[in-house]
């Protein structure tokens, strides 16, 4: 082969190979599952305030993750993993907690941290900490690593001991514990949150399965 032909082959290799790789990458990116965004609803009564409603379920049938079947319908889940809120706003969060629970492995997370006033309202009662032996999940949100934009919010969600049952979709659950709290959003960016109560049902640290899989007990909070 002469030089120009070799050059042609070299170019063709890069273009063909690179094109194939780009296509594969594009297919992969679009195949990565994505939940629809849950937008914070602006409050009618107060300025610069919005309301966000979430739920935690003992399975993933009722939330976004499992609404069309899902891979693991028996895994615990939050109702949404893709939360969107405006910047410099007070976010009023209401979480309906439908799951049972147990002891925290780290009692540190029985505290309410980073909320407005350092408190949360649980079934109407305002508290700054809960019983660490009877927790269902936590909602723990943290800042962007190393950006200087720190945000740390952690609210324990007590275990649901109600017996009265309610129907959501086709599923039957017990009446939830309602946890309400507010926090102020900081700078724009994508923040990560997850549950810090080990509820993943595998042996080592119980952070496997639902805890280690995207879209069940963790998600993002996009501030824009």
């Amino acid at each position: 082969m002469n030089r120009s032909k070799s050059l042609g082959v070299a170019l063709a290799s890069v273009l063909l190979g690179g094109g194939a790789l780009a296509l594969a990458g594009f297919a992969l990116a679009s195949a990565t599952p994505h939940q629809a965004a849950l937008n914070c609803v602006p409050s009618q009564s107060a300025p610069n305030t919005c309301n966000l409603n979430l739920s935690t379920f003992p399975d993933s049938m009722a939330g976004e993750q499992g609404k069309d079947g899902g891979v693991h319908p028996d895994w615990v889940s939050y109702s949404n993993d893709n939360l969107v809120v405006p910047a410099n706003t007070t976010v009023n969060v209401t979480i309906d907690q439908y799951d049972s629970g147990g002891s925290l492995n780290n009692a540190f997370f029985d505290q309410v941290m980073g909320t407005v006033g350092g408190t949360a309202t649980i079934d109407g009662k305002t508290v700054s900490s809960v019983d660490p032996t009877n927790v269902g999940h936590t909602f723990t949100l943290r800042g962007i690593p190393g950006s200087g934009k720190t945000m740390f919010v952690s609210v324990p969600l007590p275990a649901d001991s109600n017996t009265q049952s309610v129907n959501i979709g086709q599923g039957q659950y017990t009446k939830p514990v309602v946890v309400q709290f507010s926090f102020k959003t900081g700078a724009k960016g994508v923040y990560e949150w997850n549950c810090e109560f080990p509820c993943g049902s595998t042996r080592e640290g119980q952070f496997g399965e639902a805890m280690s899989a995207y879209g069940y007990m963790s998600g993002t909070l996009t501030v824009n």
Binding site: N106, F108, Q111, G118, R142, G146, S154, N194, G205
Partner: protein, 244 residues
């Protein structure tokens, strides 16, 4: 190849070597401090100094190899498309091999002595009233508590110029506790407490990052730390909610 050209080329090689060594030494002296995070502790001073010393020590060796390789590329390559004739049939040169071995052994011994000395300084505790901090890693949050004070916090607060003893453990899987600005790193292991000492000597804010792969949100297991004056630290402790 005549003797004179050989001598000439060796002289040129020496100059190349010297120039490359100087470049290496300059890189060694300035690059680490320029790239690495701001030093905030005694350990970090030592870390940066070791980096500088090792780079400077390695510079002449690397420069020697590069200079020879450059000369091989420019002076000793065969020109033309025919099959090159044979080079000098040198199979062994006891002097060169011995010198090489002696030099590399001496360099190694130097590195070792430096390393052992630095290790003794690095891991030693002065034992003068250290502040004990219990560090707990769990997926994917660090938490810190100060024994004797009933205070625990998601961020780390340290007083200036006082030795700190971190007692590190984990609740689920292995995490890596690392303060990049202080040159201290130790794993947080389940069921075991590992300790590490450092003395912060600059006020300011730093990041604590997890260096041991720990699952889904490993990249987000980052926490801020602050070095405060002794007075600020005391008032911070007092302002924190007490836990039973």
């Amino acid at each position: 190849m005549s003797t004179s050209t050989n001598k000439q080329s060796l002289k040129g090689m020496l100059w190349t070597w010297a120039a490359l060594t100087v470049i290496g030494v300059i890189i060694g002296l300035y690059a680490p401090a320029w790239i690495m995070p701001k030093s905030m502790s005694n350990n970090m001073h030592l870390t940066i100094l070791t980096m500088v010393v090792f780079t400077v020590a390695a510079a002449p060796v690397a420069a020697g190899v590069y200079a020879t390789a450059l000369f091989a590329l420019t002076r000793w390559t065969h020109k033309g498309n025919d099959v090159p004739s044979a080079g000098p049939a040198v199979r062994e040169n006891a002097m060169v091999v011995t010198t090489w071995l002696v030099v590399s052994t001496l360099l190694t011994v130097f590195l070792l002595i430096w390393g052992l000395g630095a290790l003794a300084v690095d891991n030693g505790s002065t034992g003068k009233n250290p502040l004990v901090v219990d560090v707990t890693g769990q997926q994917w949050v660090w938490s810190f508590s100060y024994p004797g004070t009933h205070v625990s916090s998601p961020d780390l607060y340290l007083p200036l110029n006082r030795e700190v003893e971190f007692r590190v453990t984990a609740l689920d899987v292995t995490h890596g506790f690392w303060i990049a600005n202080m040159g201290v790193q130790v794993d947080a292991n389940v069921g075991t407490i590992t300790t590490i000492h450092t003395t912060p000597d600059k006020l300011g804010t730093f990041d604590i990052r997890c260096t041991q792969f720990c699952g889904l949100n490993h990249a987000f297991m980052v926490t801020e730390g602050h070095v405060l004056t002794a007075q600020q630290f005391t008032s911070w402790l007092a302002s924190q909610p007490q836990r039973a």
